[in-house]
Amino acid sequence: MNEVRTFLLELHCEEIPARFLGPLTRDFSAAFEAWASSQGLGAGTLESFYSPRKLAWRGTLAAAQPNQTETQVGPPQRMCVDEAGRPTLQGQKFAEKWGVAFEAVRFEQPAGKKEPCAVLTLTKQGRPSVDLLAEALPGLIAGLHVPKAMRWGHSEFEFVRPIRNLLALFGTTVVPITVDGVQATNTTWGHRLFHHQVPEPVAIPTPEAYEAALEQAGVVVGVDTRRSRIAAQLEALAAEVGGRPVADAELLDTLAEIVEFPNIVRGDFPVNFLELPKEVLVTSLREHQKSFCIERADGELLPCFLTAANRTDDPEGFVKAGNEWVLKARLYDARFFFAADRKLELAARLEKLKMLTFQRELGSYYDKTGRVVALVKTLASRLSTDDEHIERATEAARLAKCDLRTLMVGEFPELQGIMGGEYLRHEGAHEEVWMAVKEHYRPIGAEDALPTSALGALLSLCDKLDTVVGCFAVGLIPSGSKDPLALRRAGQGLVRILWERGWALSPGDLIATALRVVGERATRPAGETAEALSAFFRDRVAYQLELAGYPGSVRRSALAAGWEDLADLKARCGALTAFAEDPRFASLAQSAKRIGNILKDEAPADRFNQEILQDPTEQALAFRLEVLEGTDDMGALLAALADLAQPLEAFFGSVMVKCEEPALRGARLSLLHRLRRAFLRLADFSLWQ
């Protein structure tokens, strides 16, 4: 017993879409591991492999299930044997029931019984793992969830792509399974090119020989191995021409997933295509040709590209020449778009935005542009008194969406904004204007940089504000995991901009302004919408605090004391974090909770007569109150609060707040009430812990 063997399963299919390879191998591993441990075969983790045509797993399992013993208790001894010690009919039946001779029956008193009974110890033989595998594997394979499953030929079996070969080994034994008519063997197929010369399948004598045997047949079956080889080749080939690949982790993953043998090819493109904006080249190469651009240390592109080929060599240069040819065709198209788009002023497309729906109830992009212009005008005049600046902001808002009707953005939607900016730059627009248009979709994700220019930030803010507020106003509100319009992302971007820019614009104010601009298009009552938006933005602000890295205690207590003034919130969080480790705050938190409880059903007056106070501890507090209320600096306020911890403890130690004497009691409640108000300017310390 305890003998272990290695298991290997490989599904060899027609080319599986790259995006499914990782999830499918992971899902099967999880299902298999759960099954193996439920069968008592050990809970070792599976190693997984994949390439475009292969999904494979390897791991060790016990050769057989362990034997299991179980005890069966039967009737009392007196009923099983007669006085002469001979078995009775009932005794014999008990032995028969479990398939043993009567001689195997023992008599002993089991726990919980009052007298000795017939007892049998039975051994259940563990089954060989290969049998269990043969029974379970077809179901585990068929049970894999495939997001876009297909059928093929006559079969009703559904899978990601047709399964053409099945390799299933347990040690050196083939696990006898059949999936959709394909019978398992100890062979598989290597690279297509390899089998061009070698018509026979590749024998895999043992699970351990798997990767080496496949590499001999032209397949590097580990995705990490392929990725690291590709990364090294990219660097080396770029260095040869004095550059480095333009970083793109996603593209690197893609290349590792679309080839069975990693080989990077470097090609050239005509130098005059470098007239195209860098973003266009990088996007065109990535989207159309899965190719990397090469940049110099100063960020300028070189007229070269890098792409992956699914073969070991390029004997006659066809692979390089082919990729160069296609790239030229693609760039020619990009250049055509770039030239054709510029024949017409960007602004001339404003009218055409009427044909482009933004959202059914909210109208076209033309309508949206109108709203964003109104918002930009209003907010720009709040942030600046420079008329020219306001004029430029309005101009940028007016032109921001025009590039949606350009050929280039039609071809590469991810270049929206960027192209509008580029075209305006070529038209000689003011730098502030074209820069703002170019940057106004930023930040696109949590990792993305914010607009660098103030105008870009304002335009981005207004665009996102209109999207979020408009959608809420027509009832498109994200819930749970459902957020098809990515409103949370837009809201987060908006909050990040406010946070980083420190503008004196409160979310509540922004919501009200944007709701006025949405006006008649709203389908829900404004009050309801404003409430939902307020909760939405509070969540976004809470997440922003998390992103900014403040400790939980700081976030909770600072947020509860108000979040509408983000600059103030930021200052409070900063000050609190500096003191977060100070032990006095733990004590302050206790006292704050206590104050909260005491004041729960009270409505004390603001003013009270200090003279009434008797105890020195409360007189000390009253004295400090003046200091607290007198300071505007968050740091100073915080220091004063920290100093309050000990006096508060002393106060609660010696004073009974709700005393019999009404005037004294009122004064004490007012004192606490005003102390709490002073706390709450900074944070709700009752939430500190």
Binding site: K148, R151, W325
Partner: protein, 306 residues
């Protein structure tokens, strides 16, 4: 290689492997899939292998004959194999070899590219086939056509004829391709693609971007739709009704390239074409089924009588 030589080799190759060689269908269409040989052929249980060339019109791709890589009309070579054979990828690779592509010197990949035709109510999964970085074919396992499940599943292979020719010959301009050679008593005259088609590209691009009468096309679209439903409802004629659906589809493409279709309108218009196409598919399948039953009954009677 000359365009006509490539087509001839593909036809020979697929005829030798048990395909009927079909002909283009004489109505404007955006893709070879719309030919009834595929649209109806992919439906129902009967075995069906067919290959043919289909001139395909994409009004929005028109470039006035000025772009060396993009054209209003191109040639698709279309193969339907029903049921999809187990060796379908190998067969496809052999067809490339028949075109003269030496597989040992080139890079070949099958990259995910799922196909969907909202106007035909059809979709499938498959790949774009990439040779040395260039997409040369579309490879699809049909899952549904005309809104109906395909049982069995057909494999559809579509070769872009001009692209492959340009690629094999290293041409930088589609109009420099040689279609074939005219041999007369006076000598041999190679005829280029440009000589045959460049003016057509110019006029048809101008038509779809500038000259097509928008109001006329809107009313044509409505009229074709009405006619199609009349044929279906009053006569149960799915073939003539399907022609009306094809005309609707092309009319829509012209309106679209004229910039006359807003994004809100678009899904609704596509649905109108799809509804008619799906009705045709359903009627065809009903016809096929009753036809098969009738034939089987006839055979039984014939046997019984002997």
């Amino acid at each position: 290689m000359h365009i006509q030589e490539l087509i001839l080799r593909l036809q020979r190759f697929w005829a030798d492997r048990g395909c009927l060689i079909g002909q283009p269908y004489d109505l404007e269409k955006g893709a070879g899939t719309m030919n009834p040989l595929t649209f109806f052929g992919a439906l129902g249980p009967k075995p069906w292998n067919v290959a043919y060339v289909e001139p395909s019109r994409r009004p929005a791709d028109g470039r006035y004959g000025e772009n060396p890589f993009r054209v209003y009309k191109h040639l698709q070579f279309q193969v339907i194999l029903k049921p999809s054979p187990a060796r379908v990828q190998e067969l496809y690779i052999e067809s490339l070899e028949a075109m003269g592509i030496d597989f040992s010197k080139h890079d070949l990949r099958f990259e995910e590219d799922n196909w969907e035709s909202p106007t035909l109510g059809a979709w499938g999964v498959g790949w774009q086939v990439v040779l040395d970085g260039m997409e040369i074919s579309q490879f699809t396992y049909f899952q549904q056509v005309g809104g109906l499940d395909c049982r069995p599943v057909s494999a559809e292979l579509t070769y872009g004829i001009e692209r492959i020719c340009m690629f094999l010959g290293g041409y930088d301009n589609i109009f420099d391709l040689v279609h074939g050679e005219v041999k007369t008593d006076d000598g041999v005259f190679p005829v280029t693609y440009g000589q045959m088609r460049q003016r057509e590209e110019f006029e048809l691009s101008a038509y779809s971007f500038e000259h097509a009468d928008i109001d006329l096309h809107r009313s044509l679209f409505d009229a074709f739709e009405k006619e199609g439903w009349r044929l279906m409802k009053e006569h149960g004629h799915f073939l003539s009704a399907y022609e009306q659906a094809l005309k609707m589809s092309h009319t829509f493409n012209v309106l679209d390239s004229r910039g006359a279709v807003s994004t809100t309108e678009r899904p609704g218009i596509i649905k109108r074409v799809r509804d008619l196409a799906c009705a045709c598919a359903k009627a065809y399948l009903e016809f096929e089924t009753t036809d098969l039953v009738a034939r089987a009954a006839q055979q039984t009677r014939a046997k019984g009588g002997a």
